[in-house]
Symmetry: C2
Subunit: 218 residues, 2 copies
Amino acid sequence: MATTEETYHHGDLRPALIDAVLEIARDGGVEHLSLRAVTRLVGVAPNAAYRHFDDFRALTVAAALVAQDRLAAAMREQTSALLAQVDSAQPAADAAIARLRGVGLGYIHFAIAEPGWFALALLTFDPNSSGEPSVTVDAQVPPPFQLLLDALDGMVEAGALSPTEREHAEWPCWSAVHGFADIATRGPLQRQPAEVLSALGAHVVDRIIAGLHQHQHR
Amino acid sequence: MATTEETYHHGDLRPALIDAVLEIARDGGVEHLSLRAVTRLVGVAPNAAYRHFDDFRALTVAAALVAQDRLAAAMREQTSALLAQVDSAQPAADAAIARLRGVGLGYIHFAIAEPGWFALALLTFDPNSSGEPSVTVDAQVPPPFQLLLDALDGMVEAGALSPTEREHAEWPCWSAVHGFADIATRGPLQRQPAEVLSALGAHVVDRIIAGLHQHQHR
DNA sequence: TGTACATCAGTGAACGCGCGTTCACTGATGTAC
DNA sequence: TGTACATCAGTGAACGCGCGTTCACTGATGTAC
């Protein structure tokens, strides 16, 4: 594809390797990922990857961050789409709710549409899975989660949620949406058609948003 | 441990293998499971397992079903404990809610207390992960999920939930609880102390139960 | 503008590993007479 | 009660596999003069 085919030097190997990880994860799932499968796909010797990454894990993490960004992008798009349907004459709370719904539905739809990428993005889920102290400040919040936090803050600003209700609200929200994505992706719903999953996902999102308000019982 | 040590025949190998799977999953996580690790732990040749199981997957599934039963048992215990705190003079709805909370909290607490077993139980999550048609009628609902369905039906009987609200209610419930368990177990909350997880988990359960009621907004 | 040479980005072969599974076997068990 | 023998439940060695990583290498690139 590049200008000079068949050169000894690949020329653009680093991004090509990341692309290959994404392609394999997309088609076959994360469990098919391996250094050798990735380099094989690119058409390069296995050890060539070591010019660009410390080890296979580092390559995998680089690709996972790309997948995570795509997830965040999907969430932003969904949010925009829902916000566009809100009339500016409507109360601010309506827009805030649309935004929060967009965050949740975007997450779920991405998982359904791209289960392989979704699973890949989750590899960065565990802050330091190799058990190392992780003194490194990757402490920054992952973009998808930040979108949720912002949407919840927006709910408070719009008066759709009280400051008390806002406290820890990210966990019920993320739990519900993430749990549904997991169930739809790896679990018992995985063979259901996309429309069914989409409808159930919307139901999950609506129920958890409704539940953020503390009312009567108890 | 058995009466005759050092015999050529183990004598009770099948359950011993299942126990070994449970022990490895408990201590090291599902990712440390292998036929060889399991037989090594029992002190038997790797191929000895083939006397009792078709292949490694079958052994793994047998152990996963045990883990699933233990999860269900934990859920039942938690439910009983919460129900015991409900005065019989209180309205039926209170008991129904306590029962539903018990189901959710039991799931979450089991995941926190025994993450390895929880992960093992999830291996039966996917109805037929090897891609086979699975004509076999393992169609019966897994015990933990059945407990949720029953608790939700109990909510309707007690008048704590309308039949309309009951529809598909299992998905928001399971999504929230399962998602939290995943986040607490494999995700960003995994290094948090048990008390924090327990408190957040309770919050998640309460929010999703509250959300089952369809009210005002929209 | 042309050449020398350091640097860079790949190759090729090999390593040691643990895996699931197979094969032909052998020792122990328990039943029939 | 004692022996013959089929059955059962293990052993031991080997298989082929794909893996991540290492080593010494070589061809291509680009800079200095």
